[in-house]
């Protein structure tokens, strides 16, 4: 009886090891273990008060959930783009600058006209940012899908031009929004102790989950990513599907940009969301998704995004200087990527099997 269950759990474990979500999960586990051993106070969460008298939770875990949100939202779109087109969009950072600039332009009116009074509802500004980001997504998408340009080359155009466009929208001014209501989305809603960006990320994830569940987006995207010719013969329109993923990524960009601008109530065109495209691609890779397209796991990508934030927060906690942060991050990422390589995982799962089989035979003889 015992022997039987051992065998079963062994095969379950090796089965899990083959699933790609094991990579970000293992990374989270490793980081947690490290922090538990090094300094368990890492996990302490305190209830504090803001200046306005609102209760807020603070602590490293809250920071991770808060700061990882933009990346998690971007990872959703990047996963779809990667799966369908077998390439990545490197213009998302620049596109965030554009969408942020659009929000400021709508809220503050023409450059120089801002007087502290919001010129339009926040909702309208957000919708405008969505529309503009999706248009730029469509631009990238049509280059990739209809003109068949390599995704990285196609998105290089917006990567190069994006921040200039962002500056141009507000005539290179940096208006600061003083209205408190605008800061809710990057900070805390009154009376809610958990940061709003996390809620937004959760909402985005739930919507994506629902779309994948109640439409055929997942099947279509994976089919096109794996075999375009077959997909066409089965009635799909591969160009349209690739195009659509870039437009969806545009939507994710708008949401991320909205949070980013709300956090600081303004934006710096050349600094906002800098290098976030690389982190978003890394999140997809850490989720065990092939960057050459095909099968994907959305949850693994999103977890991958939080793993990156977890890592960053851990390194900060141990007083790694910001300028050397990237180097440390790189080392850890290399380790994770090696561990997640299919060859290594295959070895690991057969090792697990071996470890279990003597145990089970011992159980049977006893």
């Amino acid at each position: 009886m015992t022997a039987k269950t051992t065998v079963k759990s062994g095969s379950f474990l090796s089965g899990l090891l083959r699933h790609q979500i094991v990579i970000p999960l293992a990374a989270i586990l490793l980081l947690t273990l490290f922090n538990l051993i090094a300094d368990p106070s890492f996990f302490r969460i305190k209830l504090g008060m803001t200046n306005a008298g609102n209760p807020v939770l603070t602590g490293n875990l809250i920071t991770i959930l808060d700061s990882g949100s933009e990346l998690a939202i971007l990872a959703i779109g990047m996963t779809l783009v990667t799966a369908a087109s077998g390439g990545q969009d490197i213009s998302v950072g620049a596109a965030i600058a554009i969408s942020g600039s659009v929000i400021l332009r709508i809220l503050c009116g023409p450059p120089g006209a801002y007087s502290g009074e919001l010129q339009a509802p926040i909702f309208v500004a957000f919708l405008a940012a969505c529309a503009v980001s999706m248009i730029f997504g469509a631009f990238n998408g049509s280059l990739v899908a209809f003109f068949r340009i390599q995704p990285m080359v196609a998105t290089l155009i917006l990567f190069t031009a994006g921040r200039s466009i962002a500056a141009w929208i507000n005539n290179n001014k940096l208006p600061i929004i003083s209205d408190d209501r605008f800061s809710y989305y990057g900070g805390y809603l009154p009376g809610v102790p958990i940061p709003t960006p996390f809620f937004i990320a959760v909402i985005c994830f739930v919507i994506t989950w629902a779309i994948l569940k109640f439409t055929n987006l997942g099947l279509y995207v994976q089919s096109v990513g794996i075999n375009e010719k077959t997909s066409r013969l089965n009635g799909l329109n591969p160009e349209l599907i690739k195009f659509a993923t870039y437009v969806l990524l545009g939507l994710c960009v708008a949401v991320s940009g909205f949070i980013k601008v709300s956090r600081v109530s303004t934006l710096n065109y050349s600094v906002i969301a800098k290098d976030i495209e690389m982190d978003a691609i890394l999140a997809v890779a850490l989720g065990g998704n092939a960057l050459s397209g095909g099968k994907f796991s959305m949850s693994a990508s999103v977890l991958g995004a939080y793993v990156l934030q977890y890592l960053t927060t851990t390194l900060y906690k141990f007083h790694v200087k910001p300028e050397s942060l990237s180097a440390y991050k790189a080392v850890v990422v290399i380790l994770l990527v090696i561990l997640s390589a299919p060859a290594v995982r295959e070895k690991l799962s057969s090792l697990v099997k071996k470890l279990h089989s003597p145990a089970s035979s011992a159980g049977q003889s006893a």
């Binding site: 569940k213 109640f214 099947l219 279509y220 994976q222 794996i226 077959t230 089965n234 009635g235």
Partner: protein, 518 residues
């Protein structure tokens, strides 16, 4: 046949024929849930062409992969002449032991030149003398009678020439054992003849050749011995003279063969005017360069396109399904005029199309058997109406059972199935859409005899239930067994239509050869 050109005189060749160049003894190999090879012996003599036969899943591929170091074997021994027992753990070690493989899908670099492909990765020195390399390649190709310029880019050569270049590369690496895995499946007749010429030449030079193929004709044309495997076990090794075709097939299937006889042309004869055609086209043509042609098919009819490779039969059915860009023609489905320019439009009209190239146009390799089965119906149903997992599994299970698909589960990626089972999955995919008219382009290519028969029977059964089927096969006897009307093509145009008594091998051959003879 000319005597051995150089290397060996007559007597030596005879000596070598006796000596075995490769011996495999008691090979075992299992995968989770499958015993792929059980106590298999295999002997290859120098200077012979040895056919390795068996149905899909018989263990041919596994045996070859064990021999070439792709899979480690669980137990057994491999001996190479003059080298004794060898351990082969990687393709490189196989190469060093003198074993070379030329696969069905050529694993050379298409963007490099012929000479570069022959010498790639084998440079002793660090600097390359291009002139020297091209000269050496030229000599080698000449000695093997392969007519191609060493500087030509490989991609611009025909598949046959590419294969021969792969063989030349193997020969130049001093190979004693040459494995040819389905080399002829994408060649036309004259190319096959050239390949056989080269194989015979190598045989004279004392190379042992293992030949894996599904074409029985070719086995009897070129081989000296046959080893038959079934269900991972050795059935036996036979001299070719002692094993008539019928016996070979029955050994491969493991039963006496009266099954073939079951498939008879018992198709009902239609009075031509009694039915509106299910599908009818006038002056159909596409960008793939076929001449405008007329075509129709009636309810419950099985017809076929025949002609040599490249005659335009695949292009014709692709035009019918809207797979290529259609440039002209009027199409009627059930008598109503329709426009079919995209596959989805064809599917909505009740058409289904199983493409010729399974790997390129058929499977979605990484997706599960379940997703591969439901794909076409799912696309037809629409973006906003996905099947629940339970419903999809039900569909998949239904067709796995109906077509007897051998797969570990519905979740298994289709790429890990054998060729015949992959083909059945694709067939199941189209049957699930309940088409009125199903086009099958080479559904029996590259799959085992048993499955071939199953598919032919299925086609006749579907037709008797009222489905119209267009069936294309390179093997004319398959078409004669299934089709009641054959459209003959030559040089991308329809040159004839055969029915009734005209359906014989001879008439087909004559129609294909047609005007050129007169």
């Amino acid at each position: 046949m000319s005597p051995a050109p150089f290397f060996y005189n007559e007597m030596k060749v005879n000596d070598m024929r006796e000596a075995s160049v490769l011996e495999m003894r008691g090979i075992y190999k299992s995968f989770p849930g499958v015993k792929a090879l059980q106590n298999v012996d295999f002997t290859l003599r120098a200077g012979e062409i040895h056919a390795l036969m068996g149905e899909n899943g018989a263990g041919k591929s596994t045996l070859i992969k064990v021999l070439t170091g792709v899979y480690p074997m669980d137990a057994g021994e491999i001996q190479i002449k003059d080298k004794g027992p060898v351990q082969i753990h990687s393709p490189q070690q196989a190469q060093q032991a003198g074993i070379s493989t030329v696969y069905q899908e050529i694993s050379l670099c298409p963007n490099l030149s012929v000479a570069e492909n022959i010498f790639l990765g084998r440079g002793e020195g660090r600097l390359v003398s291009w002139r020297e390399m091209n000269r050496k390649a030229g000599t080698l190709l000449d000695s093997l009678g392969i007519r191609v310029k060493p500087t030509q880019q490989l991609a611009s050569c025909s598949i046959a020439v590419q294969q021969m270049v792969a063989i030349a590369r193997a020969v130049d690496m001093d190979c004693r054992v040459l494995i040819l895995d389905e080399p002829t499946s994408s060649l036309d007749e004259s190319e096959v003849e050239k390949l056989f010429h080269l194989m015979r030449d190598l045989r004279e030079r004392g190379v042992g050749i293992i030949f894996v193929t599904h074409f029985l004709d070719q086995v009897y044309e070129v081989c000296d011995r046959i080893t038959v495997l079934r269900d991972g076990k050795l059935v036996g090794e036979y001299e070719i003279e002692n094993l008539p075709r019928v016996q070979l097939v029955s050994k491969m299937l493991g039963k006496e063969l009266d099954d073939m006889a079951d498939i008879k042309n018992n198709i009902p004869v239609y009075s031509e005017e009694s039915f509106t055609p299910v599908y009818e086209a006038k002056g159909l043509c596409s960008t793939e360069g076929i001449q405008p042609f007329d075509f129709y098919i009636r309810c419950g009819e099985v017809n076929g396109f025949t002609g040599l490779l490249g005659s335009g039969r695949s292009e014709s059915v692709r035009a019918i399904f809207g797979a290529d860009k259609v440039t002209g023609g009027e199409v009627r489905v059930d008598g109503k005029p329709v426009k079919i320019t995209k596959p989805i439009e064809a599917m909505r009209c009740g058409l289904g199309y199983l493409a010729e190239d399974r790997k390129r146009d058929g499977i979605i390799g990484d997706l599960s058997v379940r997703d591969n089965i439901i794909l076409a119906l799912q696309v037809k149903t629409g973006f906003f109406k996905p099947f629940s997992k339970a419903q999809a599994t039900k569909f998949a299970d239904e067709y796995i059972k109906l077509l007897d698909i051998k797969t570990a589960s519905v979740n298994t990626p289709i790429k890990s199935l054998s060729g015949g089972n992959q083909q059945k999955v694709i067939l199941g995919r189209w049957l699930l859409t309940h088409p009125k008219y199903l086009i099958l382009d080479e559904p029996t290519r590259g799959i085992d005899v048993g499955t071939k028969i199953e598919i032919q029977k299925l086609v006749l059964k579907l037709a008797s239930e009222g489905m119209s089927v267009t069936f294309i096969s390179s093997e004319t006897d398959e078409m004669l067994r299934t089709c009641s009307r054959l459209i003959v093509m030559r040089d991308r145009r329809v040159v004839g239509e055969l029915t009734g008594d005209q359906l014989t091998q001879n008439t087909i051959m004559n129609t294909i050869a047609g005007g050129e003879k007169e």
